[in-house]
Each structure stands twice: as structure tokens, then as C-alpha cells.
């Protein structure tokens, strides 16, 4: 249970036979996606520092978990990200411009591309896990072969909603995949203080559903594990709980200072040096003759341009107008909204009181 499923070792060696589950094109795409989202993440931090975005939640270090899982999905599948899972959203088809808009506090930041089902980033911890039970249940009732994939963190496993979601999914055998990115911390609280249980995967036993613990920095392992869970789900065998063990290199958000609660210099650097998801795939691809430095640089340059274009799109997107807040509260606006919108628009009266 507490052993870690691994396919690609940190040294870039295959630990298991791939059994034809991964072709080279997919591997290259994995690498490209991870490069892209890491660059996106770093750019976002800079934008936040420059005051062009609000507080931002970075994911660097967790690329394999997010990219590997999202790449295992089909376009019809439902994706439930938290505030840290925009890499997954982007890979599943969300536009980077939209993600920028979200962090810019734009009212349109949570819109899914219309042919996809990418949920808004979920802020209240663990609450989205239950929605992913509901959407999956509906897919099943409608006879659609679609899964719902819920992302959440190690801290989320302490919330009652975690429990209720897993239990519901177990009872109704919904095609839901629960992917916990155990990055070791819920803001400052290490998992050892979050629970007496040693792993998250072991909790699956409480619901008699499968639980898998996987190296979350191993994009192959994540991809293959999710694929297996999808197969089970689509075969009507119900949910799977997956614990992807990983680490965020940086702060919880740009408002957080990780040095307050952990040894950033040594531990974060150790993860980066010894278990980086991108580096191990780079080594592997190089051995396969699929990677050269020149090629990576070319890709990076192209990604940089894509990100800049997305940023330009976001920054030139029409700003949220105050009156936007009155839209979409209900299908039909209430009389309160109609009147209050007028109050909002009222200029400051300059006339005095009658003498």
C-alpha cells in the first residue's frame, strides 16, 4: 500500500515494462506540455509581482501529476480543478488566456470552453469532490462513457466532504477518479500532522474501492494509473482513489512564505534536483533519441510566444465592468438587481440640501 508505483525512475530509466501503453508521440507531448505549463507558472509569478495579476497559486514541481492525468482524459471527460490545477485545465483544453483572466480577478475567468467540461477552479477545499460524483453519476445514468476527474490536495483529505464523496462514489459506483496530489503540505501543515494515517491511498479501504499510490513526479506512472482508473470507470466498476506523491517547489501562493514552515533551501532543492518530473523525462527522451537541447530551446521559445500571446489576449480582453456583477445571478434578473444596478451607476450628487 505504501509502496509507490513508478514507471520512470528519477534517473530516467524505465522501472516497469510499458506494455505498449505509451507511444513516443505521447511521451514527447508530455514533455512539451510540462515545459509549457512550467513556463506558464513562472510567468504567472512574475506577473503577480508586477501587479498585473492577483495572488497566484503556483504548481511548479507538480507538473507530472497534472499533465499526466489530464492527458489521460478524453475531451468529453469532466475535469474538476482546485486553485492549483490550472496546468491540468490547460492540458485538457482551457485557454491560457482564460487562466490569466481568472487570476486577474476577471468575471470571465471561470468559463469552460464550450465543447469541454472544465469546471471553475474550486476554492473551498474538497467540496468539488462531491460534484465530480454527481456529474459522473449523471454520465452513467445517461449511458455516456465519460469520467469525472477530481483534483484535490493532501490537506483536503481531512475534510468531511472527502469522506462523503468517496463513500457516495463507492455506493453508486460512479465513474469518478479522485486524484490527490499529495505535495506534503496544506499551506504550512505537513501531512504527518494532517492525519495519523501514513498514506492517503490506504483510505480507499474504508470504502472498498481501489487505492493506488503513485510517484506523482513520474508522468508515465500517473498517466498509466489514470488510464487504468478510466478503464475501470468506463467498464462500470466505479471509482478509484489515486495518491500522487509530489512536492511544490515554491510557495503555497504568492502571498505565502514557505521559509516560515519548512527548509526551503534544502528540501525543496533536493526535490528539484533529485526528483524533478521534467528532468527525468528529458533524460529518458534523450536516450530514446527524442530530445536535443536545440529542440527544447526551440519549443521553449515557441511556448514563450504562445504564453505572451495568451497574456496579450487576456490583457486586451474587455475589462470586467461593474455592471457585470448583476448578470447571471439568476436566469432572469430580480427586481433588486435591476434597481441596484441603477444605484451603482449613479454619479455622486453634487447639489446641496435645500437651504
Amino acid at each position: 500500500m505504501s509502496t509507490l508505483y513508478q514507471v520512470l525512475t528519477p534517473e530516467g530509466e524505465l522501472a516497469t515494462n510499458l506494455d505498449g501503453q505509451l507511444d513516443q508521440a505521447t511521451m514527447v507531448k508530455m514533455f512539451e506540455n510540462m515545459l509549457l505549463v512550467r513556463r506558464f507558472d513562472r510567468k504567472s509569478i512574475i506577473l503577480q509581482r508586477q501587479g498585473r495579476m492577483g495572488t497566484y497559486a503556483p504548481f511548479e514541481g507538480q507538473e507530472a501529476s497534472q499533465v499526466g492525468s489530464a492527458m489521460a482524459l478524453s475531451p468529453g471527460d469532466w475535469l474538476f480543478p482546485t486553485y492549483r490545477d490550472h496546468a491540468a485545465s490547460i492540458v485538457h483544453g482551457q485557454s491560457m488566456a482564460r487562466v490569466f483572466l481568472y487570476w486577474m480577478g476577471h468575471m470571465d475567468g471561470s468559463i469552460s470552453p464550450s465543447h469541454l467540461n472544465i469546471m471553475p477552479q474550486c476554492v473551498p477545499i474538497a467540496t468539488q469532490m462531491i460534484h465530480a460524483v454527481g456529474t459522473a453519476w449523471a454520465s452513467k445514468l445517461k449511458g455516456e462513457k465519460k469520467v469525472s476527474l477530481a483534483y484535490f490536495g493532501d490537506g483536503a483529505t481531512s475534510e468531511g466532504d472527502f469522506h462523503e464523496a468517496l463513500n457516495f462514489a463507492g455506493v453508486f459506483k460512479t465513474p469518478t477518479i479522485f486524484l490527490c496530489q499529495n505535495n506534503g503540505y496544506a499551506i504550512s501543515v505537513p501531512f504527518s500532522q494532517q492525519s495519523a494515517s501514513k498514506t492517503i491511498a490506504q483510505r480507499a479501504a474504508a470504502y472498498d474501492i481501489p487505492g493506488v499510490r503513485v510517484d506523482g513526479n513520474d508522468v508515465f506512472a500517473v498517466f498509466m494509473t489514470i488510464r487504468q482508473a478510466i478503464d475501470r470507470a468506463k467498464a462500470g466498476e466505479g471509482p478509484t482513489l489515486i495518491e500522487a506523491v509530489t512536492y511544490r517547489y515554491g510557495a503555497h501562493t504568492t502571498a505565502d512564505d514557505p521559509k516560515k514552515y519548512r527548509d526551503q533551501e534544502n528540501v525543496s532543492e533536493e526535490w528539484r534536483r533529485e526528483r524533478d518530473p521534467i528532468q527525468r523525462l528529458r533524460v529518458y527522451l534523450e536516450k530514446q533519441g527524442l530530445w536535443t537541447e536545440a529542440w527544447e530551446n526551440e519549443r521553449l521559445a515557441s511556448f514563450g510566444e504562445k504564453i505572451d500571446a495568451a497574456l496579450a489576449e487576456a490583457e486586451s480582453y474587455p475589462k470586467s465592468r461593474p455592471e457585470d456583477m448583476f448578470k447571471h445571478v439568476y436566469a432572469e434578473p430580480t427586481w433588486m438587481a435591476a434597481e441596484q444596478e441603477k444605484e451603482l451607476a449613479q454619479p455622486v450628487k453634487k447639489e446641496g440640501i435645500p437651504a
Binding site: 464550450s114 462531491i130 460534484h131 454527481g134 459522473a136 466532504d161 462523503e164 457516495f168 447571471h328 445571478v329
Partner: protein, 327 residues
């Protein structure tokens, strides 16, 4: 002879007909399947529509409401039964932070056509937390609608309207009225509009605003005081608590110049406060006396042996009427 139903029968019929008409409709809740619900609101529906559409869920209200949100977002029309209103609290976050906000956050790309039904209010001499009337909580949450029927006819028409509403509706069913009386209810499907109050008694001296089980208390008091003292009260059944039907409230007060609110909920921050505020905003100068609140007291609902004393009674309402008209 016309067919008469109790409120609970009218509610069952509304769900039954909607289930028959629209296969997206499904019912979820604790003990609603085999058992037909603790008040029998879903009696026989499992047998009729099967376990995929009438679902006995695990005992977990956040799970029920949260799953229903997901179901609603993916094409179903879930109608959730919460066993008693006070047991909705574990699902409060799902209602407030998700059901009410999904349309808003996604700029209309997703909506949550969810109905949460629950027995509400005192009157069955149950143990603690079986008699709460906390409609206020939901009436402060933009994105929700809050509906309370006071009779079988409205219960059916409003519940059908709620199930057809594209937005989440909290549907509060006065427990005390479930079997209190029968009334003519048309067999066919019909809708009563959400957001519209109904003047149930015309009058000139004072307007009384009430809903749910208190409507009858108010109306009984109005009848008696008219008979005994010739005071003519207009009685308005609000039916929808959020959004309020301001026009009906205001025009009644403009006519009578006096007003009263009767509700079971605690006085402080009860919906009466908002009604007073609406009158303040729109009809202050018509008021000949302060708007009177006859309500549950600012104490936890007591154990059932004195539960009736917590509740507004016709006598308390009559005292309030007299105080207001003699102000």
C-alpha cells in the same frame, strides 16, 4: 365532486407528474425510496420510477446536495429531500458556496436546476431540531430562491414551478400543514409563479404578511378580530421569501396604512425585518403605526412541551393587531 388532497399528497403528486413527464427529474434523499420518506412524500415513487430515479442515499447531507449539484450540471433535475430543515446544515456550504454561485461564476455556462425540499417549522412535537424555521439564512443568499407554500393547491403549483426553474430553489414545506387539511387540487399539472405573493383576504385597516403555517394563524386571527371587533385585515401569503414580491407588499400597505408580519422564525433577523425594510423603503409615509412583528422568540426553539408557546398564536396576533390599530 372535486378531488381534495392534503398538502403532502399534493407534493407527492407534483413530483410524480414531473417524474412522468421529464425523465431528467430524479429524487434523492434519506429514506425516500423503500420507505417513501419519513413523511411519505415519495410514497410509491420508487416502485414507479425505479432506483435510478428515486434514490435512497447514504446519510450525508453535504454528499446529497453536492452530488445533486453535479447531477444538475450534467443534465439532470435533482429534487433533494432533506429529512428536517435543521439537518440541512451539513450541506449548507454546498448550497451557499456552490449551488447559488455556479451560474454566476461560469457566466451562465452552467446552471443548477436543483430543488431542495424539506419539512420546516414546528408542530409535530418532535425532539430537538425538528422544528426550526431558518428561512432567513437562505433569503440572504443571492442565487437561491426560497419558496414556502401554505396550502395544498400552492404546494403543487409551486413545486412544479420549482422543478422547472433553471435556478436552485429551497422549497420549505410546513410540517404542521402536511396533513392539517384537504383542499381541491386540480389533477393536471399547473404552475404557480415563484416570486408572487397572494392576497388571501382583502381588508382595509391593516396588512398582515405571513407564509407557511403562520398564514392560517394570521388568517384565523384576522377572521376573529373582524367578527369580534370589526377590524378589517388584509392577509397576504408571501409564498416566495426570496425574492420578495415587493409590489404586492407595498401596494397593500399603501392601502391599509398599517402592517404586521407573522413568522415562526426568531424575531431578530427574521424575514420580518426585510419586509419592514421594504415598507420603510417604499411606503414609509403611508404608515400610521410601526410595523408589528409577531414572531418566534429570540431563543432556541424549546423542547416540544412548550413549543406551542414559542410559536405565534392567534391571540398574540390579535394583540398585535389591536396594538397597531390603536397606536
Amino acid at each position: 365532486m372535486k378531488r381534495k388532497l392534503t398538502m403532502i399528497q399534493a407534493i407527492t403528486e407534483a413530483m410524480d407528474q414531473k417524474m412522468a413527464e421529464d425523465s431528467r427529474t430524479m429524487l434523492l434523499g434519506e429514506d425516500i425510496g423503500v420507505n417513501g420518506g419519513v413523511f411519505r412524500a415519495t410514497e410509491n415513487l420508487l416502485q414507479k420510477y425505479g432506483p435510478n430515479r428515486v434514490v435512497d442515499t447514504p446519510l450525508a447531507e453535504s454528499g446529497i446536495i453536492g452530488a445533486a449539484i453535479g447531477l444538475a450540471m450534467n443534465g439532470m433535475i435533482p429534487v433533494v429531500e432533506i429529512q428536517f430543515l435543521a439537518f440541512i446544515y451539513p450541506g449548507f456550504e454546498q448550497i451557499v458556496s456552490h449551488a447559488a454561485r455556479m451560474r454566476y461564476r461560469t457566466r451562465g455556462h452552467y446552471n443548477v436546476p436543483l430543488v431542495v425540499r424539506t419539512p420546516y417549522g414546528a408542530g409535530i412535537r418532535g425532539p430537538e431540531l425538528h422544528a426550526e424555521s431558518v428561512e432567513s439564512f437562505f433569503a440572504h443568499v443571492p442565487g437561491l430562491k426560497v419558496v414556502v407554500p401554505s396550502n395544498p393547491y400552492d404546494a403543487k403549483g409551486l413545486l412544479i414551478a420549482a422543478m422547472e426553474d433553471p435556478d436552485p430553489v429551497i422549497f420549505l414545506e410546513p410540517t404542521k400543514l402536511y396533513r392539517a387539511f384537504k383542499e381541491e387540487v386540480p389533477e393536471e399539472m399547473y404552475r404557480e409563479p415563484i416570486g408572487k405573493a397572494k392576497v388571501v383576504r382583502e381588508g382595509n385597516d391593516l396588512s398582515i404578511f405571513a407564509w407557511g403555517a403562520m398564514l392560517r394563524v394570521a388568517d384565523d386571527a384576522a377572521k376573529q378580530i373582524e367578527r369580534e371587533q370589526g377590524i378589517s385585515c388584509e392577509v397576504v401569503d408571501l409564498r416566495t421569501i426570496y425574492p420578495l414580491d415587493r409590489d404586492t407588499i407595498v401596494s397593500s400597505v399603501k392601502k391599509t396604512g398599517r402592517a404586521m408580519v407573522v413568522h415562526e422564525a426568531h424575531k431578530t433577523m427574521g424575514v420580518g425585518a426585510e419586509i419592514i425594510s421594504v415598507i420603510n423603503d417604499e411606503a414609509l409615509i403611508y404608515l400610521k403605526a410601526p410595523v408589528k412583528r409577531v414572531t418566534g422568540f429570540d431563543v432556541p426553539v424549546p423542547q416540544f412541551s412548550i413549543e406551542d408557546d414559542y410559536m405565534p398564536t392567534p391571540s398574540r396576533v390579535m394583540n398585535g393587531i389591536l396594538e397597531t390599530v390603536t397606536y
